[in-house]
């Protein structure tokens, strides 16, 4: 392909056709400020901050949506350009509450940062402000239209990456607001609570529902025995809240930090991830042997569950009946653990630290009370935990590593990899292979199901039976697989994770989360797996003991009561 020659700020630049002026400038080391732009996701030119002068053009051009052309002459740093950028930013700020000091995104706000970068030192424009009130109706997310700058990143993510379209611009002109159709509250919309919107929001216009208060209260309550579980993906991202590189494995420090916060027991969701493999693997083998509904589709991801409930209710029989590891943990904490520790389950308060906003919704689902109590009392996001640690003055990075409590803190590498796309599939294959063939896996890493490609497929030979498996992450990819299933393509087992990259890219993870950060967190997950002495779920001694002492066998009566669930067909509108 022949390259396109252009001049940016007097520098000769070559770029491949289709490159935007913004990218071409970036390649030449010239930084153009942006606000609404989100590479490959939101390229709509709405904020008019990345303006540049293009010789021959009638007006300034938004560099994010202007493709390079042969002989183009671009200037990114003229007085006119700087003035226009500043004016547009001042206008955006004139419709933004000046509440930085009390804002959940303070110091991590792109608008705040841009105002500093462009040297805005005065609020010259004042006037009417957005007339919409915050929306607290969703159990997972808070919409605050007052802080919305209408960059529409959330809309693009919801519509294109997730293909859920729960939110879109409503009304017009100054009254434009990003909201569910007909300005319905988010809690009534076909929103799957994935929180990808919150992850890309440059301000605090959409953020997780803050439940740290409930956890502080439980920790302070002498009657309560407060236990905490940590999702696999949190250990490779929590460090980012304290300036660490994405993907650094901080499991031991995470445990130490949680103890310092005052939790009575620090357990690991990886334990119930291993347990999930036992239950779900058995379910797969049973369906294969007894002619049950195939393909079997995983059920760990609550955003994905709500998605299929809203948009593909006909396919619900394909879902595994297994609860997610979070919910299995809650059910066991208030039964098995309560018995073992001799604590009245009504005094046990289960907190989970999740990379996820949909887990808040999941914890509140009516049917999640197999123990006779609400399985999980509060699900916090990685970001909320980071805030609590900061508030408590815990210097995360300097903590000495500590170990999880037993027995619900004992896990294998198979449990850890649940945190990345393909992980559940790989963990299941590790166990299924050995259980079905009775042989030891020669190589327990299934690289075909790893990585950030949207849809991954492979086949595995189990004693002469070929198992066709597929993995999808991000709901647009999930849709694609479901269409293939509806179209008759033969699969036996499918892993679907709601968020791009799986849980490491979850809506509750530190901001920013982008493609590169996801890749680094995934690498951290596989590092953690390799560092584990045991890497197959069925080898987890605590899981083995659980079956022996309490559950009996996979898919047994107790499992059915505590670890399995049912689903609900929901409306699209």
């Amino acid at each position: 392909m022949s390259l396109i020659n252009l001049t940016i700020d007097g520098v000769q630049v070559q770029a491949v056709p289709g490159t935007s002026v913004l990218e071409a400038a970036g390649q030449a080391g010239i930084k153009i400020p942006t606000l609404c732009y989100l590479k490959e996701i939101n390229e709509i030119g709405s904020c008019r901050i990345c303006l540049v002068e293009v010789e021959g053009a009638r007006t300034l051009q938004a560099s994010c949506v202007t493709p390079v052309t042969e002989g183009m002459v671009v200037r990114t740093n003229t007085p006119e350009v700087r003035q226009a950028r500043k004016l547009n930013l001042e206008l955006i700020m004139s419709n933004h509450p000046q509440e930085c000091l009390i804002c959940p995104r303070s110091t991590n706000c792109e608008l705040q940062q841009l105002a500093a970068e462009l040297g805005i030192s005065e609020l010259r424009f004042t006037g009417a402000m957005s007339p919409y009130e915050p929306d607290f109706s969703s159990p997972s997310l808070v919409r605050d239209p007052r802080k919305c700058i209408l960059c529409r990143r959330c809309v693009s993510v919801c519509e294109n990456v997730q293909q859920v379209s729960a939110i879109a611009p409503q009304e017009r002109g100054f009254d434009t607001v990003v909201a569910p159709a007909f300005l319905e509250p988010l809690g009534n919309a076909a929103c799957v609570n994935c929180g990808q919107c919150a992850l890309v929001c440059p301000t605090a216009a959409i953020h997780e529902k803050d439940q740290t208060g409930e956890v502080w209260a439980a920790l302070a309550d002498p009657e309560k025995h407060v236990v905490v579980q940590t999702a696999p993906a949190v250990r490779v991202s929590i460090g980012e809240m304290f300036g660490a590189e994405p993907g650094r494995v901080a499991t031991g420090q995470l445990v130490a930090a949680l103890r310092k916060l005052g939790f009575d027991r620090v357990f690991d969701t990886d334990f119930t991830a291993d347990l999930t493999i036992m239950e779900e693997g058995s379910e797969l083998i049973k369906r294969l042997q007894e002619g049950g509904t195939l393909p079997l589709i995983t059920s760990c991801s609550p955003g994905w569950i709500k998605f299929i409930e809203h948009f593909y209710p006909d396919l619900l029989p394909h879902l595994s009946t297994c609860k997610s590891p979070q919910q299995m943990f809650g059910a066991l904490a208030k039964t098995y653990y309560a018995q073992k520790a001799g604590i009245d389950p009504s005094n046990i308060f289960v907190v989970s630290i999740m990379p996820c906003t949909a887990k808040k919704f999941e914890a509140g689902r009516e049917e999640m009370n197999g123990s006779g109590h609400r399985d999980v009392d509060v699900a916090l996001t990685t970001r909320e935990l980071g805030k609590m640690l900061k508030e408590a003055g815990i210097d995360f990075n300097s903590l000495a590593e500590e170990e999880y409590d037993s027995p619900l803190g004992i896990s294998t590498g198979a449990g850890v990899i649940f945190g990345s796309t393909g992980g559940v599939m790989e963990a299941a294959l590790r166990t299924a292979y050995e259980l079905v063939t009775g042989e030891t896996l020669p190589d327990l890493e299934f690289h075909a199901v790893r990585g950030l490609e949207g849809v991954k497929e492979t086949s595995v030979n189990l004693n002469g039976t070929t198992l066709n498996v597929a993995v999808a992450h991000g709901l647009a990819n999930a849709r694609e697989i479901l269409e293939r299933v509806s179209g008759g393509q033969e699969y036996h087992f499918i892993e679907i994770m709601c968020c791009p990259g799986g849980c490491i890219g979850g809506g509750g993870q530190p901001i920013p989360t982008d493609r590169e950060i996801r890749a680094r967190r995934a690498a951290g997950i596989y590092d953690a797996d390799r560092a584990m002495p045991l890497r197959k779920s069925h080898e987890n001694p605590a899981v083995q003991a659980l079956y022996k002492e309490f559950l009996g066998e996979p898919l047994g009566h107790k499992s059915h009561e505590l670890l399995h669930t049912h689903y609900l067909a929901r409306q699209k509108y």
């Binding site: 709405s46 008019r48 949506v65 424009f125």
Partner: protein, 597 residues
């Protein structure tokens, strides 16, 4: 074929319909029947004839007598006197401003005499619901000629050579647009008619759609042939129900006659048209927003490039032409590009339809050759300013345009001259204002409009126009601050330079042009807290002229603020501290004793 000795053309444009032309028409029909003339006189319901202010209007042919402001009770006399006895009913004739006599023949009236009707050639002449009448006036001959005697490239060439430019606002050469689309890779291609006319006071396109819908259908088919498209869409606003009805009838008839559909005129070429009704957003007149709306998405502009010629409807090459542009196509093909290029000025060929509105005697629709001066349009055709008031300015181009003051009335109207004056041709709205109009208030009106109609996508338009409007609101309320003019100028320049689409980029124009020609009015509002035109209520002070006041007490009775006191039969006074400037006293005073300063 039935022959009639007389045709009575009843204007059924939306203006005349709202002044009850339908009951005039029924009354005429009734009396024609009563007098046994049914077989001799044919009543034809036409589209808009133009002089809307005079409606309901009727023309009687073959004599060409023009009757105006008719009431149903006038029908009897027209039938018994004119149609039966051949006597013109003088009292129902029009007397143009400044004339001492009534004028009978429509062709004697300046309003019609000074016009050249190409786009409006059939509007007000034929029954828009009759394809036969369109065909009788050479309708579909241009399509026949294109299909049978010209190659698609020759059609494109003819349009290029004619010099026809887009009548929707920007004036882009139509032939070039067709050529780009014809050459663009991709299939299928589409022809879209932009009938989302939305400028305040503009109704050129509506009148064509209502009065001559087939001209648009024929032109779209010609365009389809030229660019290689087999499908067209007409995007028409829902506020034009009559236009939608007449288009639907026309499309049905054209299909029935084989003028739309497969194998038109026995050739391999097929073309069909669908109507898409807009939902009331002004921004959908912007072509990329219009396309999004047809596709079922929120009507919002997207950045260009790619232009619709490369990636338009559903990402396919698309020609988007405005109604009036299309209405010019059949005559260009039929009479040849040179004929068309012979009309108008060097760079602006042909004619332009204008909708005259505001403070002008003959409000209505006119079509004049490009290059006609504003003075001719406003004073000769438009009949000048009513009630002896003084002309102040004319606003062209709607909310994207600007105003032109008296000094430039002799400017020939074409794309370039108007741009030079700081306004645009736009789609053809002309709003005339007189000395009693405040120019700051006028700018505020247009800004209110664009603010309301901004799609909300880009920050400068969404927020910038709001802040400009807020500044104008405080200026007209007497709260203007030093520096407000400079702030308006800064915002205008910024929004023009950085908004995403044409709507935003032109939104500051009304402010900029009023600042250019009437800056002193802004200054008077801000510095002296006075509105020189006496239009901004908040800046007026009400007084009672003691010499005229009869002491009737009516003003004091109606004053809601109890600000007027006085003894019976003695001059009253207004307590200016209490006065809320509502103007009720001035309206009610029978002696014109209440004055404002």
């Amino acid at each position: 074929m039935e022959m009639y000795r007389s045709h009575v053309l009843v204007c059924a444009g939306a203006g005349c319909i709202s002044s009850a032309c339908k009951s005039v028409q029924s009354a005429l029909l009734e009396h024609i029947e009563e007098n046994g003339l049914t077989g001799e006189v044919k009543v034809v319901e036409t589209g808009c004839m133009g002089p809307c202010d005079l409606g309901p209007v009727v023309m009687v042919f073959p004599d060409g007598v023009f009757y105006r402001r008719l009431k149903p009770e006038d029908a009897a006399e027209i039938v018994s006197e004119h149609l039966l006895k051949g006597k013109v009913v003088t009292r129902l004739l029009h007397r143009p401003a400044g004339n001492d006599k009534q004028v009978a023949g429509f062709d004697q009236l300046d309003f019609f005499k000074k016009q050249t009707r190409i786009a409006l050639r059939n509007t007000g002449v034929i029954n828009p619901e009759s394809v036969e009448e369109y065909i009788a006036r050479d309708g579909y001959r241009a399509l026949g000629k294109a299909l049978s005697q010209m190659t698609p490239a020759e059609v494109v060439e003819a349009i290029k050579e004619s010099g026809l430019r887009g009548r929707g606002g920007a004036g882009f050469p139509t032939g070039l647009k067709w050529e780009f689309t014809a050459r663009a890779p991709g299939h299928p291609k589409y022809v879209v008619c932009n009938a989302d006319e939305g400028d305040p006071g503009a109704f050129m396109d509506r009148s064509i759609l209502e009065g001559d819908p087939h001209s648009v259908l024929e032109a779209m088919a010609i365009c389809g042939y030229a660019i290689g498209a087999n499908r067209g869409y007409i995007y028409v606003r829902a506020e034009y129900p009559l236009a939608v009805d007449r288009l639907e009838i026309a499309i049905g008839k054209a299909r029935e006659y084989g003028l739309l559909g497969d194998n038109i005129f026995g050739t391999d070429f097929g073309f069909d048209i669908e109507i898409r009704v807009g939902a009331g957003a002004f921004v959908c007149g912007e072509e990329t927003a219009l396309l999004a709306s047809i596709e079922g998405k929120r009507g919002e502009p997207r950045p260009k490039p790619p232009f619709p010629a490369q990636a338009g409807l559903w990402g396919k090459p698309t020609v988007i032409n405005n109604v009036e542009t299309l209405a010019n196509i059949p005559p260009v093909i039929l009479n040849g590009p040179r004929w068309f290029a012979g009309i108008g000025t060097e760079k602006s060929k042909g004619t332009k339809v204008f909708a005259l509105a505001g403070k002008v005697n003959n409000t209505g629709l006119v079509e004049v050759p490009m290059g006609t001066t504003l003075r001719e349009i406003i004073f000769d055709i438009g009949g000048g300013i009513p009630a002896g008031k003084k002309f102040k300015a004319v606003q062209t181009g709607g909310p994207s345009g600007g105003c032109i003051p008296e000094d430039y009335l002799d400017t020939p109207v074409d794309y370039e001259s108007l741009t030079k004056l700081g306004t645009i041709m736009g789609s053809g709205g002309m709003i005339i204002v007189d000395e009693e109009t405040c120019m700051v208030d006028l700018a505020k009106f247009f800004l209110e409009f664009v603010q309301e109609e901004s799609c909300g996508k880009c920050a400068p338009c969404r927020i910038g126009t709001k802040r400009m409007l807020e500044i104008l609101e405080r200026i007209t309320a007497g709260n203007g601050r030093n520096g407000d003019i400079e702030l308006l100028e800064e915002l205008s320049a910024g929004i023009k330079n950085s908004a995403l689409c044409g709507l935003g980029q032109t939104a500051p124009n009304p402010v900029l042009s009023t600042l250019r020609y009437f800056r002193d009015e802004y200054e008077a509002h801000i510095r002296d807290k006075k509105c020189p035109a006496g239009a901004c209520q908040a800046l007026l002070t009400y007084y009672i002229n003691a010499k005229s006041c009869q002491g009737c007490g009516l003003c004091s009775k109606v004053c809601p603020a109890e600000a007027i006191i006085g003894e019976k039969k003695k001059p009253h006074v207004i307590d200016t501290d209490k006065c809320i400037k509502c103007g009720t006293c001035k309206q009610k005073c029978k002696f014109d004793a209440i004055i404002t300063v």
